[in-house]
C-alpha cells in the first residue's frame, strides 16, 4: 500500500503535468495503486481452475464436494427453491434481514427452547454469511468498545485478521495449535486467557476449528468458560460449521451452550454456507446476547445502523431458502439427514486418507487426520512441501498445510496419499 507521502507526490506529479492539458489526460489517478496480493485461500481455486492437468486435485477452499468431486446442492434446498421460485416478490428486507430466518437460526445456536429467545434478550440480524457477521460485530465492537482489542487464535482463518483490521480493532493472538502433537495447546491457551487483561474480547471457533480441525474437549470448554468468567472476558463465537463437525448440530453447539449455561453474554456469527451448501447466497446471522429485551432492541438498532451504509439490507434469496427449510418439519428433517451425510462422508475420507498413508509406510504419525474434526485437516506439512504437491502433483491447497477433506474422494484419496507420502517421507 502506497504511503501518504507517496500518494501526495503522485497527485502533485499529476497536477503539475496536468496543467496545459486540453481535454485528454493520459496519466492516471491510480498510479500509486499497487496490485493486491492474491487471497491465500480463494487464490488457490483460481490457480486450480487454470491448471489443465487431468489428475489435478483441489483440496483448497472449504466447499463441500460429493464423492465424484462435484459441488452439491442439497435436496432440501432444491425443494425450497422450487417452492419460492418466481412467486415471492423481492421487496427490500428490513435492515435486520428476514425475521423468520433469524428466528430459526437463533434456535440452532441457542437451543430450540432457549429461554433467551423467549425473553427476547438476543439482538440478532441477518448478515452476509460468516464474513459479514464477523465484520458487523467487529465494527460494532470498534464503535462501542473503542479501547478494546480482539484476541484471535493461532492459527485461524486468514480472513479473520483482515476483518478486524479493516474494522480498525487492534489484534492480539492466543495460543491454540500445538504443532508437535498436531492437537490443542491447552496449557498455553489457558495461560493466555489468564494473562490477558480483564474484560478482553476473544474470538473462538465454536466447532471444527478452521484451519486445524482441532477442537477443545467438552471438559476443556468448561474450563475455558470458567476462566472467562473469572477474567470477565467476552466470548465471540464464529460458528461456520454447525452440523458439519459431528454430523449433529446440537452436539456441535455444545461449546456455546456451555458458555450460555455459565451465564456469559456472548456474541455469535453463524453461516449457512457449508451446512446448507448456500455458499454463494451469503446467508448468515450475527447475534449478541444482552441483559434484557430493552438492551437487545437498542443493540439491534445499532447493528442495523452499521449495516445500512455497508449494504442497506441483506439479500433475500438465501434467507428465504433457509426459512422455508427450517420452518417445515419435513424439510428440516431432510436437511438434518443431508448434513449428517456430508459429515459422514468426510469422516470416512479421513479414515481412508490415514489408512492409505500408514499403509504406504509413512514414517510420520497420522492419527491427527482422524482426530481432527470438520472440513479441514491440518496436515503439518511445510509451505515448501505444499509447493511441491502443487508443482509436481497438481494438488492444490493452502500453503499452511491445510487440506480440505471435503475435496477428498474415493477416486483421489490414493493419489493424494501417495503424493503426500512422497513429499514428506524424507522429513
Amino acid at each position: 500500500m502506497a504511503s501518504r507521502t507517496a500518494i501526495s507526490c503522485g497527485i502533485a506529479r499529476r497536477l503539475s503535468s496536468g496543467y496545459g492539458f486540453a481535454t485528454r489526460s493520459m496519466s492516471s489517478w491510480w498510479t500509486d495503486v499497487e496490485p493486491a496480493a492474491k487471497d491465500p485461500i480463494l487464490g488457490v481455486t483460481e490457480a486450480f481452475l487454470a491448471d489443465t492437468h487431468p489428475d489435478k486435485v483441489n483440496v483448497g477452499v472449504g466447499a463441500y464436494r460429493d464423492d465424484d468431486g462435484k459441488p452439491v446442492v442439497l435436496e432440501c434446498v432444491r425443494e425450497a427453491e422450487r417452492r419460492i421460485a418466481g412467486s415471492e416478490n423481492m421487496e427490500y428486507l428490513p435492515m435486520g434481514g428476514s425475521v423468520k430466518m433469524v428466528d430459526e437460526t437463533l434456535k440452532l445456536a441457542y437451543g430450540e427452547n432457549s429461554e433467551f429467545i423467549k425473553e427476547k434478550r438476543i439482538a440478532a440480524v441477518q448478515a452476509l454469511s460468516g464474513t459479514g457477521a464477523c465484520r458487523l460485530f467487529a465494527e460494532f465492537q470498534k464503535r462501542f468498545q473503542p479501547d478494546s482489542q480482539i484476541y484471535i487464535p493461532i492459527p485461524t482463518w486468514s480472513n479473520h485478521h483482515n476483518i478486524w483490521r479493516d474494522a480498525q480493532v487492534p489484534q492480539r493472538t492466543f495460543h491454540y495449535y500445538h504443532a508437535e502433537t498436531r492437537g490443542l495447546d491447552f496449557a498455553s491457551l489457558m495461560d493466555d486467557v489468564k494473562n490477558a487483561p480483564n474484560g478482553s474480547f476473544f474470538m473462538l471457533h465454536a466447532c471444527a476449528h478452521n484451519p486445524t480441525g482441532v477442537d477443545p474437549t467438552e471438559e476443556q470448554w468448561r474450563e475455558i468458560s470458567y476462566q472467562f468468567k473469572v477474567k470477565n472476558h467476552f466470548a465471540f463465537f464464529d460458528m461456520a460449521y454447525q452440523g458439519f463437525a459431528s454430523g449433529d448440530p446440537e452436539r456441535d453447539a455444545k461449546a456455546i451452550r456451555i458458555f450460555l449455561e455459565d451465564g456469559h453474554l456472548i456474541g455469535c456469527a453463524q453461516s449457512y454456507a457449508k451446512n446448507m451448501g448456500l455458499y454463494g447466497q451469503r446467508v448468515g446471522c450475527l447475534s449478541i446476547l444482552c441483559e434484557d429485551e430493552l438492551q437487545a432492541v437498542a443493540v439491534k438498532s445499532q447493528l442495523q445502523q452499521i449495516a445500512r451504509p455497508m449494504y442497506s439490507n441483506p439479500p433475500v434469496h438465501g434467507a428465504l431458502v433457509v426459512s422455508t427449510i427450517l420452518s417445515d418439519p419435513t424439510l428440516k428433517n431432510l436437511w438434518l439427514k443431508e448434513v449428517k451425510g456430508m459429515a459422514d462422508r468426510i469422516i470416512g475420507m479421513r479414515t481412508k486418507l490415514r489408512e492409505n498413508l500408514e499403509n504406504l509406510g509413512s514414517p510420520l504419525p497420522w492419527e491427527h487426520v482422524t482426530k481432527q474434526i470438520g472440513m479441514f485437516c491440518y496436515s503439518g506439512m511445510t509451505p515448501e512441501q505444499v509447493d511441491r504437491l502443487t508443482n509436481e502433483y497438481h494438488i492444490y491447497m493452502t500453503r499452511n498445510g491445510r487440506i480440505s477433506m471435503a475435496g477428498v474422494t474415493t477416486g483421489n484419496v490414493g493419489y493424494l496419499a501417495k503424493a503426500i507420502h512422497e513429499v514428506t517421507k524424507s522429513s
Partner: protein
C-alpha cells in the same frame, strides 16, 4: 466497563463475604478451593440464576437506541398505521397501479430458467459473477465502447448501489486519504452515512434551488470550482434522488469542464438507469459523455429499481481508468476491500441479470417492461400535476412536477408540512418533502393533491 462482583448464591455466607472484591484477582479463583470443582459441574444443574456473576453486566450497558432510518423507517411507520386511506410514498420501490409490488415477468422467466438449469451455489469469485460483470459494464457504457475494448474498466460486483458506493468509499479512504467527497445538497440520505463510515470527509455543493424548484446550476459550478483539486464529485447519473432534477446535456458538458479543470474525479451513482426516460441508453448519457472525454470515472450501479431486484442486492462498482494496467491493479485492490466485508457477493441476483441481458429475447422484454414502468410514472406525474393545477386556485405553478424525472418528486414541502401529510392525511413520505411517485396510483392522485395543497397552504 463497570467492575463487578462475583456473587454465588449457593456458596456459604462467609465465603460470599470474603469474595466481595474486584473480579480479576487471581486469588479469587483459589478462594473456591474445592468449590471450584463444584462450580464446573454444578453450574449446569443449578442453571443461570445461581451463577449470578460478573458476566451478567453487559459490556453494552450504555448503548442507546439508534434513530430510525429516515427512509426505511418510513415504511416501518407506514406498516404500523391502521388507517384505510394510508399511502406509502416513502421508499423508492416501484408499485403497480394497484399499489402492489411488481416482479418483472423477465425476472420470473429468468428464475425459472435458473431452476431448470439447476446451477450450483458455489462461492462466486470476490469480484462476482463474470457474466454479470460483463453484462453490467456493457449496459452502462455500451457494448462497443472503446474503454471496454481496451480493458480499461475495473468492474466488481457489489451489494447493490449501497455496497458498491461503500467499496468505492473504502478505496478512496485507503488510496486518497487526503481527498474529500463532494455530494449534492440535497442527496440520498445514505450517501453521508456511507462516506462517514468509510471515513471519507465530505462537503456539499449546491444543487436544489427552492425558489425555482429547479437546479441551482451556477451554485453547483461555483462550489465544484471552489473545492480542493482532486475531490471526488458524486453525481447522480440520471433521475436525481431526492429532487428528480437532472442537468441538461449542455449543463453536463459544463460540469465535465469544471471537473476536468479542477482535476476532480467524477463519481456517478447510477441507481435508475432506464427508469428516468424509459430508455437504458438515454439514461446512461451523462456517464458516457464523461468517459468519452477521456476522464477517469467511478460509477456505482444498482439493479434494485430497474429490474425490481431490490432485496437481491445486485449492483457493481466500475472504475474507468486511463489504461488497462491501472484497471487491473484497481480491481485487485477493490477485491481486497471486499474480502473482509463479505468475502464474495451473493450469486442469485447476479445470475438473474446475466440471464436476462445475455438473452436477446429476454433483454428486449426487459426493455419493454422498463418502458412500461417509466411510462406509468410519467402518467402519474401528469395526473398529479393536473389535479394540483385544478384544485389550487392561487395560480401557483406546479409544473415542476412535470419537469422532474424519475421515481421521485421534490414537492417543496418542508419538514412541518411533510409531518402534516403523515399525521393528518396518513401519507408517508420523507421529511425533506420527497414523494415517491412509484408508490402513487392514478386513482389516488386527487387525494394526494388535496393533501399537498392542505399542507402547503395551511401549515407553516
Amino acid at each position: 466497563m463497570a467492575s463487578t462482583m462475583l456473587s454465588l448464591s449457593f456458596a456459604a455466607p462467609s465465603l460470599h463475604q470474603s469474595q466481595k472484591r474486584e473480579v480479576g484477582c487471581v486469588e479469587t479463583a483459589s478462594l473456591f478451593g474445592n468449590k471450584k470443582v463444584d462450580l464446573l459441574f454444578k453450574g449446569k444443574s443449578l442453571g443461570r440464576t445461581s451463577m449470578s456473576v460478573a458476566v451478567n453486566v453487559s459490556r453494552f450497558e450504555g448503548i442507546t437506541m439508534a434513530p430510525p432510518d429516515p427512509i426505511l423507517g418510513v415504511s416501518e411507520a407506514f406498516r404500523a398505521d391502521t388507517n384505510d386511506t394510508k399511502l406509502n410514498l416513502g421508499v423508492g420501490a416501484y408499485r403497480t397501479e394497484e399499489l402492489q409490488p411488481y416482479v418483472l415477468n423477465v425476472v420470473k422467466k429468468a428464475e425459472n430458467l435458473m431452476l431448470e438449469k439447476g446451477d450450483n451455489k458455489e462461492y462466486l469469485p470476490i469480484e462476482g459473477l463474470a457474466a454479470f460483470n460483463k453484462a453490467t459494464v456493457e449496459l452502462l457504457l455500451g457494448a462497443d465502447n472503446p474503454a471496454i475494448q481496451q480493458g480499461r474498466v475495473a468492474t466488481v460486483q457489489g451489494l447493490s448501489g449501497t455496497g458498491s458506493l461503500r467499496l468505492a468509499g473504502a478505496f478512496i479512504h485507503r488510496y486518497f486519504p487526503d481527498s474529500k467527497a463532494m455530494i449534492s445538497s440535497p442527496t440520498w440520505g445514505n450517501h453521508k452515512n456511507i462516506f462517514n463510515d468509510a471515513r471519507v470527509p465530505w462537503s456539499e455543493y449546491r444543487y436544489y434551488d427552492p425558489r425555482t424548484v429547479g437546479l441551482d446550476f451556477d451554485g453547483m459550478i461555483s462550489d465544484i470550482k471552489a473545492a480542493p483539486d482532486g475531490s471526488f464529485v458524486v453525481l447522480h447519473g440520471c433521475a436525481h434522488n431526492p429532487t428528480g432534477i437532472d442537468p441538461t446535456p449542455e449543463q453536463w458538458e459544463k460540469i465535465a469542464d469544471v471537473i476536468e479543470e479542477k482535476k476532480h474525479i467524477p463519481f456517478f451513482d447510477v441507481a435508475y438507469q432506464g427508469f428516468a426516460s424509459g430508455s437504458l441508453d438515454e439514461d446512461a448519457y451523462s456517464v458516457r459523455l464523461f468517459v468519452s472525454r477521456g476522464l477517469e470515472v467511478l460509477v456505482a450501479q444498482s439493479y434494485s429499481k430497474n429490474l425490481g431486484l431490490y432485496a437481491e442486492r445486485v449492483g457493481a462498482i466500475n472504475v474507468i481508468c486511463s489504461g488497462s494496467d491501472a484497471a487491473a491493479r484497481v480491481k485487485s485492490q477493490l477485491k481486497r476491500l471486499a474480502r473482509p466485508m463479505y468475502s464474495n457477493p451473493p450469486v442469485h441476483g447476479a445470475r438473474i441479470v446475466a440471464n436476462i441481458v445475455g438473452d436477446p429475447t429476454l433483454f428486449n422484454e426487459w426493455k419493454e417492461e422498463m418502458e412500461m414502468m417509466a411510462g406509468r410514472i410519467k402518467n402519474v406525474r401528469q395526473k398529479l400535476h393536473s389535479c394540483l393545477a385544478e384544485k389550487d386556485k392561487s395560480g401557483k405553478d406546479w409544473s415542476f412536477i412535470l419537469k422532474q424525472i424519475g421515481m421521485f418528486s421534490f414537492t417543496g414541502l418542508n419538514k412541518v408540512q411533510s409531518d402534516n401529510m403523515t399525521n393528518k392525511w396518513h401519507v408517508y413520505m420523507t421529511k425533506d418533502g420527497r414523494i415517491s411517485l412509484a408508490g402513487l396510483s392514478l386513482a389516488k392522485c386527487e387525494f394526494l393533491a388535496d393533501a399537498i395543497i392542505d399542507s402547503f397552504y395551511n401549515v407553516s
